[in-house]
Symmetry: C2
Subunit: 203 residues, 2 copies
């Protein structure tokens, strides 16, 4: 099993490989990857060792090959449908973010309670009433729900999603969410990014 | 020096302590913290060991004391001013997020190029023209700049911020930013959260 920090770094390396391929490169080495991602080359080589035997020393990596191996190991090539509950500022910014498509995440549904937002189309998906969450997730077999509602609405939104068959919840709200056994909640906070930055500001 | 993953987890623990204190609790143990944060109690005890001698076995932690020690070690109690460049969906969601105040981050300025947004007030701060970035950051001694502009505008925005004295950049755009030596760029991507989640979806 790959530890979380390695997974996050491998996802960053994967994105850098996609960018390089788009710019016409065929191969690169761990120093190139350090330049592109800001992650130390020694750390990248350690993370890549989770994928088994890698590149020939001194020759570098074939971008197509490395991309495939990371996608397989990280399960990035399987199409994952997700729904966003709370189509406000953060919800819509996430819905429009091109980075998610690169990881085969497909926005399947958007929900909100605000009558003024229902029916609006964001990145090709129409915002639906929150009352439809359970029915809609079940019909389209959506397993991942992203919560970008106010903290006070988070638990209710999670329950509706779980009732509709969601098993993985990405919680952007500051509320603590309780889910039944078998469901996984990952809490996301940008404040952790700020906190890590603050730690360096002092040095 | 505390490794990044520990810093991010300690920031999560810190937020859980703030929540518990608000709910009137005086003390708690590592199992309580596991319940509140989703981080394993053994991992929490390991992370807390970076702070030196901790709580008495079996007695738990005094919340006020633990909070102070984390804030000191992570440098969270020093007020850090930051500016947001790009006051669109993500920029405004970040500007309004109450979690940042808890880490003593104070929104000092917001910038945009869109004439319709300039002058609008978000969380008590008026959106200013991007042409004012360097002058404004220098006048208010702002060292941290958050980039939430389109990828094509990211490098230019970073240069204006560095010219105004910013030394730490939190880059939410998919663009790779080049900065002079002495400046630090941290790239933030929610896609890493999704990628880590995807890895578990399969298991
Ligand atoms: N994790 C972080 O670091 C971070 C950063 C910024 C914002 N946030 C959080 O993200 C959430 C959204 O922030 P925002 O700035 O986009 O807020 P917002 O007010 O712009 O959006 C919230 C949306 O949720 C909708 N909503 C309310 N109740 C609902 C329900 N029961 N079901 C479905 N939709 C519902 C509202 O109509 C609104 O459109 C907040 O909880 C905020 O604290 C987290
Ligand atoms: N890191 C992630 O996982 C993630 C997730 C969502 C969005 N994003 C990124 O965040 C950025 C913002 O996304 P959004 O949905 O808020 O977009 P948006 O279009 O709503 O906001 C962008 C804002 O930047 C302003 N702007 C454009 N050029 C500027 C300049 N030179 N100086 C100052 N302001 C300028 C625009 O007027 C607009 O208000 C994008 O780069 C997007 O790719 C990243």
């Amino acid at each position: 099993k790959i530890p979380d920090p390695s997974l996050a770094r491998l996802a960053t390396v994967y994105r850098a490989l996609l960018d390089s391929q788009r710019n016409g490169r065929k191969s690169l080495n761990s120093l190139d990857l350090q330049e592109l991602t800001g992650i130390a080359a020694t750390q990248i080589r350690k993370d890549l060792s989770h994928l088994g035997e890698m590149g020939k020393p001194g020759v570098g990596y074939d971008i197509g090959d490395l991309k495939r191996r990371i996608a397989e190991r990280l399960n990035l090539s399987r199409r994952q449908k997700f729904a966003i509950i709370g189509a406000g500022r953060l919800g819509q910014a996430l819905a429009s973010y091109p980075g998610l498509v690169e990881f085969s995440f497909k926005l399947a549904a958007l929900f909100d309670v605000d009558k003024k937002k229902i029916g609006k189309v964001v990145n090709g998906v129409a915002i639906q009433p929150a009352a439809e969450i359970s029915k809609n997730l079940r019909r389209h077999r959506v397993r991942i729900a992203v919560l970008t509602v106010p903290a006070s609405a988070a638990q209710g939104a999670a329950e509706a999603a779980v009732q509709g068959g969601a098993r993985w919840i990405l919680n952007f709200t500051p509320a603590h969410i309780a889910v039944p056994a078998g469901c996984v909640v990952r809490n996301v906070s940008f404040t952790n990014e700020f906190a890590v930055l603050a730690h360096f500001v002092e040095k």
